[in-house]
Symmetry: C2
Subunit: 476 residues, 2 copies
């Protein structure tokens, strides 16, 4: 067992106080409560849990990493933290792209990555899942019963359901099948004082009391720690048909998206701009047309004649808006190749240098203006900003590629990052469609929400976590 | 202009206080603020706005009925009410079935029934709607653009969108298309202090900040007054195909529902028991089999071959579970007749005497046990309790018919009402699937939620409405 001396001064975001605690090992108390195996202060463990996938440079070394295996241990940890006034950073698989799980000095990281249980109930068509279970594992467990858990963030293979709930994660299928919130029927939440509240359950309709369940979804670990999730599953669907269209400009592609989605409900509508196409081709040649200004990837899983109809509507919309080529396929393998190309964008760009990943969204008709504006920002700041988009939702991921060899590139990127969010807001959009505010986007939130809504946030937070111990500095 | 003297004692639910106000007409202040036309104390108006559709006997005569025509007038009314500490009962079309809009002595009824604007934006596929607009009016306005607003409570022709948002109303199509919450993208909410918060907007994905929007949906007017709603619309669908199956017992019908819904996603799954069938036949003969123990009405709007498949799956499930007859039709008029029969249940029963309308729900596999248990309760208390159910959601409406000629019938009905909710809770169910808690179901809520979740409610309420002025006594 390894000892840690309580720091004489603990830093709380937004306030500082002198801690009068005796220099005994306060972590020993926690070890006594939940077992020594669950509490680590090993330097390599602290370092591994310091950052999430955003690699937020402001992340700090935590006091300890706590990895409970039961909800009771989570409750005991929260009670201990409340008594000691130690901030708690809840963490699923650590794949936040906005610093939602960056560690803070003087805090503990409460990692749920050992709570990975999954139980499928085919009769109620629900999954009861622990927060550390990966999204892909839930999908696979459901598939064994002919069932489907739709939400599919790009991180589907590495992100946890707990993290998905914390950010109300989206993905590629949302355009037809909705986001994480639409599949959460029940939550067990450990509150700031260590009590456990059970919200909702395996009922498809339930309006008894306030929608607290929905308040916790997307709360980024600032209101409680989720220890159990009841997810709604749906019957599995047949494989989709796929249409690929090339355009000279992203504007034209975006216009085709607006037109398609006003008539039919495709199950996927993804857009890649020229820079994305070339990044993927550089990474792993898939035979994409490097000269194309944009590529649209549209899928329909409608059955029978409706499938043909949806493909036709999409094709006509693409042609009307100047597509230079349109082709479609019913072959799952060929389709999978295009989806793989779309999903390859992050690894492809990751090789080129550090990335600043954006997540802005706008009402669908503003999508062309957003894509055009991002191009102008890239040009003005001499930056490479490939854009991929869940275009059917108006949700784009401009990816600012930093050039490590260019010393003032980071300053220009910071300007561009700011300008992209302001551009989205000027188009009645949002600074985050699915990644969450985390710590990185916090400076922009008030501009989107305004003072009255920010005040509502403060009142809710204060009501549920008056000492501000849960994920301080994140979420809002 | 008609004067009203401030009562010397105002009754606040849960507390009483002596009011020191001078006997000047405090309503004149309000008339000065928002115009005399918006404030009425005419006795017939007070009486008309005293009750909602539940005819809660505990409803009291309000101080005044305030009917603003702009959000600014709602804000001014709330500011005035906050200053005067006068409770406010928000009201849409007054179709609450659980006393959510029953007036209280010393309160004003804030009726939104003159704010009925609807604007459809086909490009964003959204409707911007004022709270008093009826659900059917939104559906019709959307249909003019080839669009569809799915939520369809049985009250679709008489209930307002504001009321639908307040209760998170469900309906017949929810089994496939979800409830009101799934279509609310944005809300303007006037808070207890008169400030207006704009939450969300015409964006399909937005995770900036807490899910306050979702917290307000289903809050039954206890946290704020909704003045503007942005609704998501979807492309219109072709008319469905319909299957009707008869069974000797509701148990068998319920078992067929469970089996059907585990394999396919019908767009409607309604159940009527023998008592419902006969009540409808008595009311208006539709040729239903009066001897049947239960009737299932299943629709599929899947296109092409999938439609045949879904009908086949449902038919096989019905036959497997003992259906005595199964027939299906693609003829919209014939289908409409069955849907009309289902919807006729309330007017049919309404003639027979006062009704106590239940709204309990259970996880789908518990549906047979629930229906069976309700039958036993009816028998034990010598009551007529027809059951109709949104069976695919596990949401049932047992309807206790009171016999005006039987003096102790009301006492037995009260016992049955209580036992039905306890039965649902014992099956891991809910006391309300879509009607809301209102005032009538409040005594049972704590039993469902438990003390910790009730405490969370109190903390949220206190954070947003510390003086308890918004719909006191309702919701939780």
């Amino acid at each position: 067992m390894q000892g840690t001396t309580a720091p004489r001064v603990r830093v709380f975001p937004g306030r500082r106080r002198i801690c009068d605690a005796e220099p005994v090992d306060i972590l020993d108390e926690l070890r006594d409560l939940i077992g020594a195996d669950q509490v680590s202060t090993a330097p390599e463990r602290l370092e591994a849990y310091r950052y999430d996938l955003s690699r937020d440079p402001a992340a700090q070394t935590p006091l300890a990493v706590v990895r409970p295996v039961t909800a009771e241990q989570v409750q005991q940890t929260m009670k201990w933290a409340a008594a000691q006034r130690i901030p708690v950073i809840p963490r699923g698989a650590g794949t936040s792209l906005s610093g939602g799980a960056s560690a803070q000095q003087g805090s503990i990281v409460l990692a749920l990555d050992r709570m990975t249980g999954i139980a499928i109930d085919p009769d109620t068509r629900t999954a009861v899942v622990e927060p550390g279970a990966l999204n892909i594992a839930v999908k696979q467990a459901a598939a064994e019963h002919g069932l489907w858990y739709p939400p599919d963030p790009s991180s589907v293979e590495i992100s946890s359901i707990g993290g998905n709930v914390a950010t109300n994660a989206g993905g590629l299928c949302c355009v037809k099948y909705g986001v994480t919130r639409d599949y959460v029927l029940g939550l067990d939440v450990v509150l700031a004082d260590g009590r456990l509240a059970r919200l909702g359950g395996p009922r498809l309709k339930d309006v008894a009391g306030l929608s607290l369940l929905q308040l916790f979804v997307g709360s980024e670990g600032t209101l409680g720690v989720v220890t159990r999730i009841v997810l709604r599953l749906v019957p599995e669907l047949p494989p989709p048909a796929t249409l690929v269209a090339l355009f000279a400009t992203p504007d034209e592609a975006a216009a085709a998206v607006v037109e398609t989605c006003s008539a039919v409900r495709p199950s996927m509508v993804e857009l890649m701009d020229n820079a994305s196409i070339n990044a993927v081709e550089d990474f792993q040649s898939m035979g994409l047309d490097r000269a194309a200004g944009a590529l649209l990837l549209i899928q329909t899983d409608a059955p029978g004649a409706a499938r043909e109809l949806e493909l036709e509507v999409a094709q006509r919309a693409c042609e009307k808006h100047g597509a230079t080529a349109v082709f479609s396929t019913d072959d799952p393998e060929e389709a999978q190749m295009f989806v793989a190309a779309r999903r390859a964008i992050f690894p492809a760009l990751d090789r080129l240098g550090p990335l600043m990943l954006e997540d802005v969204g706008v009402p669908l008709p503003a999508l062309p203006a957003l894509v055009r504006g991002i191009g102008a920002i890239a040009q003005r700041h001499r930056l490479r900003i490939p854009v991929v988009a869940h275009a059917g939702d108006g949700n784009t991921h401009p990816i600012i590629v930093l050039d490590p060899a260019d010393p003032d590139c980071r300053d220009r990127a910071a300007l561009a990052y700011d300008e992209i969010m302001r551009l989205a807001l000027s188009l009645d959009g949002t600074i985050t469609g699915e990644h969450g505010i985390g710590r990185i986007k916090r400076p922009w939130l008030a501009e989107q929400l305004g003072p009255d809504v920010m005040d509502l946030h403060a009142r809710i937070k204060n009501a549920l976590d008056p000492d501000g111990l849960l994920n301080p500095g994140a979420g809002y």
